[in-house]
Every structure is written in C-alpha cells, then in structure tokens.
C-alpha cells in the first residue's frame, strides 16, 4: 500500500521534472512572476448603503481596474473591461447599477449573458450585493424558462432584467411596447463575456444591439454600455463593432496573483513518416496524477465528452490502484443537470472535491474558486480560451501550474513550438461582421417590424434606404405617404432568424431520443452537408448524436443520442468562381485579392475516426445534392509560376502551402479551421494563374477574408515558419497536410512556393 504525502504545487512540479519519462516531453517551461494587488480609491459619490454593504462582505477597497471602470461608467462613458478569470469584474458593473437604482428607483438595467446558466449565476451574485447594501432591487432572469405569469411582472417592474441575446431578439424587441417601462428608463446595458460574440453569432448580436439602441432612442433613453471581455487581441475594437459606439478600454488588471509555471508538452513522435504522435489524453492523465496524489486541487480539460470520460475513468482507475483520493475526482460537462453542476462547483470552492475533469463548459465565468493546477489535453483552439482555462489555476498567493499537452493536430503543434505566440504574443482577435448582407437584411426586416424607418435613417454603416427599397421588392416593406418605411407583411420576421446561423434556410436538428422529440439546434445548408448527413456523428454540448435520417427537402435531420468511440469527418468536392474583387494588391512574387466568390460544394464521402487517436475506422458515401454558396474569400496568385514550375510539383506545392496558410489563418483569426475552406487551382478561371483560395464557410462571410487580406504578409511569414520548424520528413498533418505520395517532398515544394510569394523579385529558375 502506498500513501501520499501532501505537498505544495511547486514541490510536486519539481518531482515530476526529475522523472525523465515525463520531463522529456516538455518543450517549454516559463514562469510568470507573482503580481501584487493595485488598489484604487472607493468613489466618494457611492451611496453609503452600498459602501456599507461592501464592507460587510469584506471589501474595503477596490482594485484599480474596478475603480477606473466605475468612475467612467458614472461619467456616462461606454467601457470595455478586460480582466483575467476571477478578478472581480462583476463589481465593475454591479456598483454603477446599484448606484443608479439607489439614486432613482425607476432606473432600469439590462444584463446580457451568452448562456442561461451564466445569467442565473450573476442574478445570485448581484442579489447578494444588493441585499448587503440593504436595497430591494427586483432582479429577474427573463429567458425561455421564465413562467408566463412571472414574465408579466418582470416586464412591468423588473429593475434589473437578465437575459440572453436570443431572448432579446425574439421575445423582447418585437414586443417592445409591452416593455416600455424598461426602455424608457434604461440606464445601463451590460454585455458580459463579450468575446463570445464573434463570427456569425457576433454579427447577429451586433445587429440585435442596433435594434435595441433604436428602440431606446424611440423611448428617449440613452443607456451606457458596459462590455466585459476575456483577454483577446482587440477587445476595444470588438466592443466598438458590436455596439457601434467607441468604448473606453480598461485592461489594467489590479487583482493580485501568485507565481505561475506554464509548461508546454509535446507527446512523443511515434512515426516520423506519418507524423503520428502519442495521445494527449494519456499524457495529460500522467501529469495530473502526481498533483492529485499530493492533495492539490487540479482541473483537467478535455476537448470532447469522450475525452472527458476517458480521462475520468483513467484517473479514477490509477488512483484506486494506489489508494488515492478516487472519489474526490469528478466530471463536469454540458450534459449534467444544473443541480449536479452546482454541487460540483460548491465542492470545488470548499475543497471537498480535489480534481475535476471538464469540457469547455467551464470556460465561461462560472465561479469555482481558484485551483492549484490546470492541465489541458489538447489546445482549445485559441490563445484566449487557453488563458481562460489556465486561469482556473492561480491562487492569490503560492505557486500554481498550468500545463498544455498538445495533440498531433497542426494547430496544436504550431502553438507549442512557437511558445512566444502563446506567452508573449497578443491573443487572437475576435472578428465579426455586422454588415454581412444576409445578416444585415434579416435584422433590417426585424427592425422595420419593430419601428418604421425614417427616410435617410441609418442602420449600420449607411442610410438604410437602398436596402429597404430592396426589401420592398418582395413586398415585406413599403414606403408610405409620409416617406417612412413600414413593415407590410403578416410574417413575424424575428422568428425567421436564428442568431447562430447566417442563412435563413437552415436544417433543423431534431433529437428523437426523448419521448417527445425536441429541436436541439440548427445548421445552415452548407454546414449541413458535412455535419448532419446520414450516419454522421453530430456533436452537441459535448454529447454525441447519430444522424438517423436527413430529410433534405424538409430541412430536417433526425438524430439519436449515442455513445460511440468515433466521430465522422466529411469530405467535400468544391469548385470556386470569383464574382467580384473588393480589393487587390500585386507585388512581384504574386498578388492578393479579396472579394465575393461562388462556391459550389458537393459532399462526397465521410470517414469514421476514432476519438483521441484519430485512427480511421471506415468510411461511407454521402448522397446529397450540390449546393452553391455565395461568400467572401481571400486569394493569392503566384503570377507566372506556371512557366517556372513542373505542373505536378506546382499542384503539390499549392496544396501544401494552402494547408499551412489555412492552419495559420485559423490560429491568427481565432476561428475553427473548418470555418475557412481551402481551394487551390493550378489555373484559376479568374486570373489564369496558380491560385490559393481561402473562402469563408458562411453565406456572405463574416469579414475574415478582408482581415486575411490585410494581414497577408504576417500570414505568409507564419506559414513559412510553420513548415520550416516542423520536424517531419516530407510533409505531415501538422504542416502541409497528410502525405499523398511518398516520394514527393511536399514540405520542400511548399516552402519554395511560399518563398516566391514572399519575395520582392520573381525567383529565377536555376
């Protein structure tokens, strides 16, 4: 029988690093030094009851970022507060809200959270603060779960209304006349977790906010907007795009933090030819065990539900053999009931639970206190979420440890072999395009339904008249005798928009597992081809669903909950045709463009891949019609390369360089690699030159193409670097993609092509 002596995190780390089989995988070890608290003054204008309430909760002074934010909001400035995990951002907007209501009980505030669970957490926290201050403030959530009798009360008397963008869009704004008390007296709008509003969802939410501000103006209120964001590259720009107004950036973190070790770990290379590596899950488990045995609170993040289950069983098994604290390790993921989740959160806070294995359900602001070690099995997809997950470990005093175990995927490999990217570089930018034509038109319809448009009134970047005239052709909108534009259809436009997809025509995903089938999601047609074809495994909230039937004409996919050890990946055959060039720039080595393209896509086959190991288990055909997608793309042409290259080599080089650019682009822009499609053409119909296209897999695009065009130089440099630093022989999934022909050195060819594209003068053939 072995017993385990408690030890602090630093000691455990030292002992692990003394063990060669584990220490070998460490590619980078950084130490982030401890940071002292920076205090700011408690504002003198704060109501004495609120100050007393804070004192009773043990808060005598504010951190500097809190003080700065509160002062700015008090002056009526929009702010965006950027703070690391658990640094007390709630106070930044709770105090001004309390103050506004203490001064004038008729004042109202609207809090927006991306999910229901977060909203409920915040209601609890805000209510405690107001109770401590001795203020009775009607704080209520208004979401899909709110019963009808309570809804009427919230509408009439809710001083702080907590809701989510979907509810605001579909239930509050179209019915604004029933909410006139709220809109007339709205003082503060809080947009928490604003970094989650990116991509298509962000574009929708930005338009919902345009509609919200329009309604406020109608009722004569001018609320302050407070955005709270995790650390991303462009928080102020994001907030400005989202709300359409400039915001004051507050990013000086005042909360103290202890010393933190950050380790980047690469699993051993098993086969240099194919690039196969050991499993990140197994390695993460080995790193977690010593911490748990030493009694250190540890959180392990897996990327899927299956990974979580594997980690959980693995850890429990290992701890049982060694008589460790087996029962004190718990799972935490999307499918759990709210009560179970609350119990786990409480257990973590009071120390009853020692270890937790989680999916990214814990990435958002749920309060679990601070732990000793955070171990990530696989790169979560962005620097920002990596730091959020790292941030779960970090006591105010003492040492904490954050570990990222990479998988064999290209993005993971790039990240751990470029530690500066993670540790020093700016985190990714969150992109959204509120002016995506599809999204803009959809919300313009909803906005016209809510209030008629004055002639010349702006909606978004320009006056809306051209767009309204376009809508009028369908008869949904008409210009009346007074020149205003009115909604003139019996449809309810808000119900036609789903905030999570770009196109209006979507496939609805219906879960047939429960007795009463329910809709669990929607995907646009383009994504449906590869996500919900028959026999696909569809992942939703980290749970797996098998697609039993896809009724393409009815746009319905019937799925059933299963537990499988594999997932599916579909291939599509894509042809691409440029329609319109928005901007172009040519240098000697090649030229870059961005613009609108037509993508014709046909889903062909799908592969079954085993979770964690990505081993191929079989394949099947997909029988679906071809669909066309109008979207935006960024493309680069290697002018004149056809004369200098052998045709077959050029083919390989274009594809290899394209893969590397695609990988790097998804890292730089913080998007899922699947959101950017890749097409390479040796002879493009547009320019008659070898061309690499990166198109956005969303109708109309979300502005990624334009951003790639702007960051062209950076992109090519990073792609070249990715290929240069790869340790494989002649191309692997981590750089130029899987090797297709064993005798061709894809790496070398892609490198040559990138060098030409980056050169200032055309390369001269030897």
């Amino acid at each position: 029988m072995r017993t385990y002596a408690p030890a602090d995190a630093a000691t455990v780390l030292d002992s692990i690093l003394a063990e060669p089989s584990l220490a070998r995988g460490v590619v980078h070890h950084a130490v982030v030094p401890a940071r002292d608290a920076i205090q700011g003054p408690m504002p003198g204008w704060l109501d004495p009851r609120i100050v007393a309430g804070l004192t009773s909760r043990g808060i005598d002074s504010l951190y500097c970022h809190q003080a700065e934010a509160i002062e700015a909001i008090h002056r009526g400035e929009d702010v965006v507060v950027v703070t690391p995990t658990a640094s007390g951002k709630t106070l930044c907007y709770a105090l001004p809200t309390l103050q506004a209501i203490a001064e004038d009980p008729s004042a109202r505030a609207l809090f927006l959270f991306p999910t229901k669970a977060l909203g409920q957490d915040q209601v609890t926290e805000f209510s405690e603060l107001s109770k401590a201050a001795g203020l009775t403030i009607a704080t209520s959530t208004y979401d899909g779960d709110t019963p009808a009798p309570i809804r009427a009360a919230v509408r009439a008397a809710g001083q702080v209304v907590v809701t989510n963008p979907d509810m605001l869009h579909a239930a509050i704004l179209p019915h604004h006349t029933k909410w006139f008390q709220l809109f007339e007296q709205l003082r503060i709008i809080v947009i928490d977790e604003s970094h989650t509003y990116r991509g298509v969802f962000g574009g929708h939410v930005a338009n919902v906010l345009r509609r919200l501000l329009r309604i406020c103006a109608h009722y004569g209120s001018h609320p302050v907007i407070v955005c709270c964001s995790a650390t991303i590259g462009n928080p102020a720009e994001l907030a400005a795009t989202l709300t359409g107004r400039p915001a004051r950036l507050i990013d000086r973190a005042g909360a103290p933090a202890g010393e933190r070790h950050v380790l980047l770990i690469d699993p051993p290379l098993l086969d240099p030819a194919s690039g196969a590596r050991g499993s990140a899950v197994t390695l993460a488990q080995r790193w977690a065990l010593p911490f748990l045995r030493a009694g250190r609170q540890t959180i392990v993040f897996g990327k899927s539900r299956v990974a979580v289950e594997l980690l959980l069983t693995g850890l429990r098994e290992a701890l049982r053999e060694g008589h460790g604290p087996r029962t004190r390790v718990r799972g935490y993921r999307g499918g759990y009931l709210p009560t179970e989740r609350r119990a786990i959160e409480r257990g973590l806070r009071d120390g009853e639970i020692l270890g937790v294995v989680a999916t990214n359900a814990l990435e958002l602001g749920v309060d679990i206190g601070r732990l000793d070690a955070s171990i990530l099995a696989g790169y979560p997809g962005s620097v920002a979420s990596t730091w959020q997950q790292f941030g779960r470990a970090g006591r105010r005093q003492g040492t904490s440890v954050a570990i990222l175990v990479a998988s064999a995927a290209a993005v993971d490999q790039y990240v751990i072999h470029h530690p500066a990217f993670l540790l020093e570089g700016t985190p990714e930018e969150a992109r959204l395009d509120p002016d995506n034509l599809h999204v803009l038109l959809a919300h313009l319809r909803a906005a016209t339904f809510e209030l008629p448009f004055e002639p010349g009134e702006r909606f978004g970047p320009t006056a809306a008249d051209d767009l309204l005239a376009f809508l009028a052709e369908d008869g949904h909108v008409r210009q009346a005798g007074d020149g205003r534009w009115y909604w003139s259809s019996e449809n309810f436009p808000a119900s036609e928009i789903s905030l999570r997809t770009a196109a209006q025509e979507n496939v609805v995903i219906i879960d047939t597992t429960p007795d009463r089938p329910r809709v669990i999601g929607e995907v646009d047609l383009f994504a449906a081809q590869t996500l919900v074809h028959e026999d696909a495994i569809y992942l939703h909230e980290s749970a797996q669903f098998h697609v039993d039937r896809l009724d393409w004409d009815e746009r319905k996919a019937y799925v059933r909950r299963i537990d499988a050890n594999h997932y599916t990946q579909a291939d599509r055959a894509v042809t691409l045709k440029p329609l319109d060039v928005f901007a172009e720039d040519s240098g000697p080595g090649g030229s870059r463009r961005h613009g609108e393209v037509m993508v014709a896509s046909l889903a062909t086959i799908y592969k079954k891949l085993k979770f964690v190991t990505n081993e191929n288990l079989g394949w099947g055909r997909i029988h679906l019609p071809e669909i066309e997608l109008q979207t935006t793309a960024y493309w680069l042409t290697a002018d004149g390369a056809r004369d200098r290259w052998r045709r077959d080599e050029l083919d390989v080089a274009l594809l290899g360089a394209g893969r590397a650019i695609q990988t790097v682009a998804s890292i730089l822009l913080m998007v899922d690699p699947r959101d950017l499609g890749l097409v390479s053409q040796v002879r493009s119909p547009h320019a008659e030159e070898p061309t690499i296209y990166l198109y956005e897999a969303v109708p109309g695009g979300i502005g990624l193409a334009e951003r790639l065009w702007e960051r062209h130089g950076e992109l090519l440099a990073a792609a070249a670097d990715l290929i240069d630093t790869c340790t494989c022989e002649g191309g692997c999934p981590a750089c130029t993609g899987p090797r297709l022909e064993p005798h061709v050195d894809a790496r070398m060819l892609a490198r040559r092509l990138l060098a030409e594209l980056r050169s200032t003068a055309p390369a001269v053939q030897a």
Binding site: L467, S488, F492, D585
Partner: protein, 470 residues
Amino acid sequence: MTVLAPDARAQLTRRLDRLRAERTDPGGPADPLPYRPVPGRDLAERLATTLAGEVVTGPGGRFVRVEGRTTRVALDRPRLAGLPGQPPADRPLVCLDTETTGLATAAGTVAFLIGLGWWEGDAFRQVQLLLPDHADEPALLDELSRHLPPDAWLVTYNGRGFDWPLLVTRYRMARRAAPAHDGHLDLLPIVRRLFRHRMENARLQTVERSLLGLERHDDVDGWEIPGRYLGFLRGGPAHPLLAVVRHNHEDVRSLARLVQLLDVGYGSAAARRFVPLGDVAGLARAFARARRPDEALACLEEILSRDGNPDHPSAVEVANEPPDTEPPWWSPRVRADFGGPPSSFPSYRHRSATFAAPWDLQRVALDRAHLLRRSRRYAESADAWQGLAAGPGRTAIVAWIELAKLREHRLRDPLGALEAADRGLEAAQRRRRLGQLDPRLEADLRGRRERLARRCDAARRSLDGKSQRR
C-alpha cells in the same frame, strides 16, 4: 503596387443584384405584385370609392369611415347586469372588432379596420374605420378614442387577449395614451363556459351557426384578410376588401346578437328553463366563479327538477370522450382557434374536433354537492353526496370519500366517516371485480379507513377508561 479603391455603393448594388438573381430561384418567396409606391391620397380615395365610405381628414392624417347598417337589438340592461361578469346597467356598451395585418400582437402588426357598434335605445348603430396608409394611423387612433367614452364597457370576442392589447401597442407606437374605459366584456370566456359542451370550436362563426342559427355566405376566411389589405397597400385593387368590410360588419353585429342571446335566453330563471341543461350547468359555474353560490345552486336545482319532465330539454346528445393525449380545445392551455392560415407548423397543428365532457344529471348533481359544501351547507351537501353514493360507477366511490371527509371534519361523526370509508372500499372492490381499477381512490380510502379506525379505537378506549374510573 495598385490598390483597387472599392466603391461601397456600387459594390452594394452589385451584391444586391446577385441576391436578386438568387431569389428568383424556384421555391423562393413568390409575390404576384411587384413593389410600386402609391401616393397616400390615392389610397384613401380609392378605398372610400370602392367601399362607399367617406375620407375624413384630420390633423393626424386621413381615414375612411364606412357607415354600417342600423339594426334593432333590444336589451334589458338590468336583467343583463344580473348575469355574472356583465356590465352594470348604466354603462354605455361599445362593441369592437379589429381586422389586422397579422396574428402576433407585436409591434409590427397593424389594425387596419376597426369595427364599432353601440346602442342608441334599441337601435344598434355600426361604423367602420379604415386605415388607408400606414402614415395615417394617428388619425385612426384619434377617431377611435373619440368613440370610447371613459365610462364605456368594451364588448369583444377574445378582445382581452388580442384586439385590445394590439390597439394599446398601436397607441404606444404612436407615443400617445390608449383611451381609458370602465370595463371590458370579453364574450369568449363566457361562451366557452356556457356552450363548450355543444360546439366543436370557439370561432365566432361556429357560435353564430350553433347558437344564433345563422350561416354566413361568401364569407372571407380569416387567414386571407391580411393578404387582401397588404395587396391593396402595394397598389393592388381595393375591391377584395369589400368582403373584409362585410365580414367585420357581421362580426360586430354578432357581438350585439350574442349579448342579446345572453340577456334574453339566460337573464331570467324563467327563460333558463327552456335551454339545454348543459348551458345552465355552465352558467352555474360562472355564478360560482363570481362568488354568487346561491344563484349557482338555484341553476343546478332547476336542472335537477327537470328530471322526469319530458317537456324540458334534458341531457344533450352523447358526445365523444375527449382524447387522453391532447387537452380538449376548450382547455385554457390550448390557444383559441380563430382560423389561422393552414400551416404545417406544429403549434398550429390541426386538432380533431372534440367535444367537452357531456353534461348529464349525475355531473350536475356532483357540482351541486361540491357547491353546497363550499357554501358551508354541510348537512345538505352530505345528503347530496349520499344520493350520489347510491349511484353506479366511479362517482359512487368519490361520493363516499367526500362523505367520509364531511362526516369526519364538519359533522363531527368519525364513526359515520368510518362507515363511509368502508362502504367506499366495498364499492371500489365491486368495481375491481368487474376489472375497473381505481388504485388512487382505493389507496385514499384505505389510508382514510385505517386512520379513522385508529381514531375511533382511541376514542372508545378513552371513553371506556372514563367509564371505568367512574
């Protein structure tokens, strides 16, 4: 290096052109009428000419006023006021029904036709106000306010849920106050309460057919109405609105007819003797809800006194059992069916016409027993339950349980209660032998019997103890 400066407006035009091309795909929204702006003055004139109305111009714009027919609808207001939920005799009544551009009461739905009707003596006068153009809405709303005196009662059909909230929304959109009124008589709930047992749905047309004996000819379906008006706004012809105006006129008139039916047919005890017993039983429930138990009891007793008298309309025709899976159409959980567009969307799923549970004398007696108990007339209630307990079926078991409760808690007769529980169990066991199980009632009776037996034993022992001490 050449940078192509993008011209935003031209680019937008090109993108819209491409969208337009995409939109003409088969399956896209087909609209027969292309957009053509029509001057507001023309709209009002055309509307007035076609509908034989007059254009009225005010500070808020124009509206079209169509005079309706005046008909004789005599009411005995004091008698009407005696019914539950009806307006006091001295309040003016204004019947109101709107036609709208959609079914949602949200901000973008407009009431384009407001039908109004009021009494001048026995004469029922009607007028209809039409909106010629979106821009003229303030004028229409001002006119409506003029027709609603602050002491008036609104008379509507589902107006509490639909017409009035929609109008309030319109007033708020125009940033003005909705006119005050003294009360609102929504006829839908009272129709549901009284007549649901003999109608297949609650539409006003069904009410006309089954209660007023009227059949409409060439009537326009409700779901067609928004399209006809919107087509007109887009430059289409005005004549399709003729049928809409007629439809609305009939709707308003039927409100008056319905009020008259309530007044004449149900306003006095004498009249109630000649209507189906289900109607009176429903009225009894309406009285009970209005906390007027004596009148409710009088209604029920009148029905029970009909028994054996062949001249009176007795039990209604046997109706279908409501299905178990879905609540019946009259349940408050089901949205009223006013004839929406035929749609495959689940919330508008067609429900097969089902009848409410039929009223029969046993059910009336059951209501009476409950009511007596609620009026604290315990002895009479016990007699009523006793009568029911002698009857057949499940009702007998329920009656024994109620008797046991009454005797134990109100009549202070635990021994009697014990006996009632015993008899109830016997009845349950008889039914069990016939294969009809009532596990919940049986469990209730068993628990009750056990508790009562213990209580009686304890009482007996303490009584014995006392007598021994003596």
